[in-house]
Structures are given as C-alpha cells and as structure tokens.
Point group: C2
Chain length 117, copies 2
Amino acid sequence: MKQAHHPEVGEIALTGVMAALSDPIRVGLVRVLADGRERGWGEFRAPVAKSTLSHHLRVLRDAGLTRTRQEGTRCFVALRRQDMEARFPGLLHVVLAAAEEEDLGRQVSMKDDPHPA
Amino acid sequence: MKQAHHPEVGEIALTGVMAALSDPIRVGLVRVLADGRERGWGEFRAPVAKSTLSHHLRVLRDAGLTRTRQEGTRCFVALRRQDMEARFPGLLHVVLAAAEEEDLGRQVSMKDDPHPA
DNA sequence: TAGCTTGTTCGATGTTTCACGAACGTCGAA
DNA sequence: TTCGACGTTCGTGAAACATCGAACAAGCTA
C-alpha cells in the first residue's frame, strides 16, 4: 500500500473528470460521498469485487475527484468538493443534480446506511 | 447515408453525455457549436481522418448532445442546447466554461473561422 | 449516363477499460 | 511472532474505443 498519487487542483483535467463520471458505479460512489463526510473504504457497498472497487476508487482519485487518506491499514475517502469547485465551478453540483434526477448509481450505498429515502 | 437516430430528451443518459465529453476532439466540436449556430459537416476542421470525425459526431449524436440534419448529400450539425438544458439543467454551461478555462479542444475549429480571439 | 462530392460504414489495429480471483504487503492484535 | 484484516497490485480475458484507409451509397452536375 504505497502512498497514492493525487493531482493538484491545477492539474485536474476536465476529460479525466468526465471519463471518471461516465461509469454508474463511480457516479454512485460520488453520490454517497456528496454530503462531504469522509468514509471508510470498507463501508462502501457496491455490486463488484473488491479489486474492482479498488479500481474505481483509483480512477476517481487519479481524476482528482476524491482524496484518499491512510490510517494504519485502512483508508478513508472523501470528495474534493472545494478543489473541484475551484477548478470547475458548478460542475459537481450540476452533475450530482443530474445523477439524482436519473437515480444513477443507486447500486452503490454505505454499510449501515441503506440509502433509503 | 441512412437517417441517423437521435435519442429523445427523456432518453438522454448522463453516463452517455459524460462519456461523449471525455474526449478532447468531441469537446472541441461542442465548443465550436456552442454559439447555437448550425454548422455544415464539411466546415469542421479537426486533426483526424474524416472517418474518425464521422465517428466522433456519431458519438455526440447518439449521446443526445447534437442533432444532425440532412439536406441532399450534405449534413448540418447543431447543438441540442434546449434539450440538454431540459434534461440536465446547467450541465452544458458549466462544461463549456470548464473547457474554456482549460482551452480544451482547441485543435478543433471551423473553416473560415480560425477561432481567433 | 458518367463522374464528382459528401459523409457513412467496414475491417484492421492497437490501446484502454472493466471485471474477476489470486497473490501480495502492511499494519494491528493476539 | 503468528495471525487476521485491509486494500492494492497482478495476471488475465472480454469488451469498448480511437484511429486509419478503403470501399460504399446517395445525391448533385455535367
């Protein structure tokens, strides 16, 4: 588990962000992170193998959408809302609203938080 | 040249739109169409073969971002601004602003319109 | 009719992506 | 030090994608 790379704000590329958000699972991950809370890796519930989940979280991280922090042997993931807002103002908001409208990424939830309402 | 398919407003999918906008050429195409003017296919200038350009315009069309109209043997392409606005309010605007910020898709221009400013 | 123009489609190629299970490295607990 | 938990990485396929040139179809034009 080496220290993961995170792009700086200025390095965040629009194409990377768009590509990252072109997958339903990843949109779901962003949605559950949308409230700004940092989440433990193991809390995520998605219908894929853990290696695949790791892959998706890596794509989000590489694109600059999320930040991963390590603490001992476990990881915490958070949305880089402010960085995204600084780089591409309004983007995250409209994408989240659009995803909500479509209920895209509903397959993703958090443990002990069945995403009910 | 058969009649191309266009998704209805309600059928436009967020993932499709995001995927379509994850390529610099396609973002460039959207940018030159952003003023709302309908453009002739042959006016586009992009550093790819015409078969590749055709492919990119098809992806944009299939995603619901553009509309293609045929007139005799030639085609005219226009951005579906209103439809996009109805489906995903604000999305096109923020994406265009972000693309502007990054000068993404500058490789695409129009004949007799060298994208000067 | 013959030929030109226009854009699409086809086939091939190389790259990237998504998916999985298995193996691995690291850390904390026993 | 041994064990278990936690994520990452690897190896592998299947599918999708970007790209090109060549072939094609449809419509003008001569």
